[in-house]
Symmetry: C2
Subunit: 454 residues, 2 copies
């Protein structure tokens, strides 16, 4: 016994979640489903190290800021030549870019990969913000140009992956940034970043407040065009199947666009509309599961075409987008002199799981993966019990063999506590048969380990 | 194009391995197999965060040394109250101990868990030594006492897990530390640590060199008893099925043991023999796959009974034990005032995988998980091709739909490059049937997406 020992009572580390076995079982089942959907479209798995060189992250032009964790050896070895500084990755995009650049010659393009790993961000932990969390990402990268085919494919995959978990209705919202960027250029907006930020907030603040905040940011005519676009975006939400019709109509009839504007800007808008149209058409089989939503902005510079967000319609507890992404022009230009456009989506898995868990919307799984508990009748009958367990296992079942010849009631109650659905009784005396008890019905029948099935 | 951009050419980070997709596919298949074996015995999965508080690691009495990586925020937030220092875990035993102590009230005992995660050690990288690697651990923990049943069970599980990968013959070697510790106490060895270290090296240095190095470490009589034990240990290797007979004989006939020695020490040896006997008997069904090996030492203090090592008999490239462990008296005494004995084994997965890969003993997998590539005949026939792909997917197949209506030869060669075993041709004209080509036989036949099977 350790009564004299000093005890350090451990406490949860804020922002680093971990689950009890019954929730881990659900998490694992969901991750398996996501993986199965990713693979059903032929995306291959990669894993990258937890760390990247700090220089790699800096080269990508990311904000190398206070969210990044760098590694320090607790006691540095003075004899060792100074290694590069290593930082934990904070997403899977920088690692993907570095991986593609580094292994370029060994990859087959279009490179379709998925990646399901933990990432780390030294944020101040708060509800729904974590310092360690799992992301499930898929991306396709190609050399020089990437068919629009993939803009639809990654959307379908993420929709299916989310639908595979039991969270009610999923709605994937798609837009194309060329439309909004073309518009802002066309109508001569001088401060597009500010306007984009405002449009991004639209859903939260509502149209009235949007108009108030827009006041004074830009000149009147431009302002009106933006308000008309936002109204159009609402109209598209009402009637998503006619998105491109409404858009073309808007361009043709809008005063400001007609008067001002370069051909290039109008060309950009039209490209955006055509691309959005193509993507929506490929996703028609998903019905209401996929809609156009022109108010999607997704950050300021990264995405250049299709953009996605996803809403869980039956989970009001989940604020924001559970799965987002888009098309980008150049994945790895910081690391290799190749033009590598891509498109990808990322599921913020851990936040999703935790919100649902805290909302009581996840039914905990069993505490044991076993299908069957084999009872140990007595020390003398250990061989027979062990043999029954082995036979059932060889036939594909998951089987616990009870660890000591305790009272049968105690053994059965162990199965109950662990959520094991069947209890197997090897013969307690010579000449008797094996029996198996269904724990949910209470029914007990004779059975043979050689041919019994669940 | 990014020709004017500054390029930072990334290089591999020493000690942090990553694989190309075709090797990752194999790694994943192997990890799936290990997991399936662990679960087939009813062990549940847990995952713990990548980090522990440094104080947790220090409390466990581990050497908090230069191998440990601590996290530092790149830019600390001066307003934030000082958080605890966090360190990346360097094994899965400290996290398990902390987890069991922290969640004690919510766990069902015996607690049978497996854990397959990455761990980090800031070692100087060298052949076979990594700074990041995956371990696959199983352990059983119980309150106050733990049946010997589990000493056999975890051995069987690890044997099966290793045998599930195709690496030729696996040999699990078992001993019980009580035998050797009892002997050393019995014959009055004053420097057991030194002697244990020497016995541990026996396999490498051979009996002759062992005798030379033993010279001068201890008095003559004691030395003779140790040499006799080492000779006995070799005899047991020759005739492992009679381990306990040889041992009992040794104790009964040994001069030094007979003359010197406390009853307690002899009692300890006998206990060790009985325990070893029980474990070996439970593993008889594995034949030569499990043998007694009295020379196994496994460190100095941690293990208190059964100890395991595992050799790959057909992989001479792999030096040392691929999978080791044993029984310990008290898992979490540093964190909770409970007596929690346990037994566990750990597979050093990444080193194993890397050694086999470098030795050319791993056949790379395909670059795509897809079973079928559906050809895209033309833009006009996209819907039909997409529908065929969806139907095959719904029927459980993994399917890539080719991304552009390029020449058929180009599409087929993509399937070849990615290792996709079947190519599907939707009708190229109205009235034609679907066809499917087996890429390994070249055979091409008519088929329907609704009932074709691989």
């Amino acid at each position: 016994m350790s009564e004299k020992k000093k005890i350090y009572k451990p406490k949860p580390v804020s922002g680093f979640p971990e689950w009890l076995p019954e929730y881990r079982a659900v998490e694992q089942r969901w991750l398996d489903k996501i993986r199965a959907v990713f693979e059903s479209y032929g995306y291959c798995s990669i894993e990258t190290p937890a760390v990247e060189e700090l220089e790699v992250i800096a080269a990508k032009g990311e904000d190398v800021d206070k969210e990044i964790y760098v590694l320090e050896r607790l006691q540095a070895d003075p004899d060792e030549k100074k290694d590069a500084r290593l930082a934990l990755h904070f997403d899977q995009t920088v690692p993907l870019a570095r991986y593609v650049a580094q292994h370029f010659a060994d990859l087959t393009f279009p490179f379709k990969r998925y990646q399901m790993q933990k990432v780390w961000r030294g944020e101040r932990p708060q509800m729904g913000r974590m310092r360690e969390f799992t992301q499930c990402d898929i991306d396709v990268i190609n050399v020089d140009s990437l068919p629009l085919h993939f803009d639809a494919e990654v959307a379908a995959i993420c929709y299916e992956a989310l639908a595979a978990m039991d969270m009610g209705r999923v709605q994937l919202r798609v837009s194309n940034r060329k439309i909004l960027l073309g518009l802002l250029e066309n109508i001569g907006v001088k401060n597009p970043a500010e306007i984009l930020r405002l449009i991004d907030k639209m859903d939260k603040i509502g149209l009235l407040e949007f108009k108030v905040q827009l006041e004074g940011t830009t000149e009147k005519e431009v302002k009106n065009a933006i308000i008309q676009f936002v109204e159009l975006s609402n109209a598209v939400k009402e009637n998503p199947s006619n998105a491109s019709g409404l858009l073309r109509d808007f361009i043709a009839r809008n005063d400001v666009i007609a008067r001002s504007g370069s051909d290039a800007a109008i060309q950009m808008m039209n490209e955006g509309i055509e691309e959005l149209d193509f993507v929506l058409k490929q996703l028609e089989h998903l019905g209401d599961g996929v809609v156009a939503d022109l108010s999607i902005v997704r950050g300021l510079d990264y995405y250049t075409g299709t953009v996605y967000e996803t809403q869980l319609l039956d989970v009001p507890e989940f604020v924001g987008s559970v799965c987002s992404g888009g098309r980008y022009d150049d994945l790895a230009g910081s690391y290799i002199n190749k033009h590598l456009p891509g498109v990808g989506i990322s599921i913020g898995f851990t936040r999703l799981f935790d919100v649902l868990r805290q909302a009581g919307k996840i039914e905990p799984g069993p505490k044991s993966p076993a299908d069957v508990l084999v009872v140990l009748p007595s020390e003398e009958r250990r061989d027979e019990a062990a043999q029954a367990a082995r036979t059932l296992r060889e036939r594909g079942m998951k089987v616990e063999l009870y660890h000591a010849p305790q009272k049968v009631g105690k053994q059965i109650s162990y199965a109950e506590k662990k959520g094991i659905p069947y209890v197997w009784f090897p013969p307690f005396e010579d000449g008797l048969a094996h029996e198996v008890k269904n724990m949910s019905t209470g029914e007990q029948t004779e059975a043979s380990p050689n041919d019994w099935t669940i």
